[in-house]
Symmetry: C2
Subunit: 90 residues, 2 copies
């Protein structure tokens, strides 16, 4: 997807697009994806901007026990890619 | 487990101990743990030393598609802790 605008990607109905947010409505553990998937990583502190969120991207949270506020972006990205790779394999 | 020698930890039969290795015989995706678990992270490049391995620690690999040799330690640790947290929750 190099050189493709995000808005163009999101308009493709065959793609599943999601982003991470601590307040995301869906748990990553329950996220089942089929086919090509776009995981969008926003700003580490603020996530995606409101304009970007309005495109109807699913917001996914990483379930965490304890009181930690959130993971840093590299840790979160590692976990997302592990989850997606596992889903493709199974 | 602060201030406890690794060898003492490994001798406790009630603990499950494992470490990561690219050549590990068990996939993290299949690792089911019950009760208290010790995940040991060795040297990023070389893993655990032979002396440390001789204690009978299970070696676990993180399944990865593609040709990448391995993950860096922070990414691997993030994935392991996510997996363990998910297992405790389910």
């Amino acid at each position: 997807f190099e050189g493709v605008a995000l808005s163009d990607l999101l308009s493709r109905s065959e793609l599943t697009c999601f982003s991470l947010a601590a307040q995301g409505s869906q748990s990553l553990a329950d996220l089942a994806v089929v086919g090509d998937t776009v995981a969008i990583f926003g700003n580490e502190a603020r996530g995606l901007s409101t304009a970007q969120l309005s495109a109807g991207i699913t917001l996914v949270n990483i379930p965490m026990p304890g009181d930690a506020e959130s993971l840093n972006l590299s840790a979160a990205a590692s976990i997302v890619m592990y989850h997606l790779a596992n889903m493709q394999a199974s």
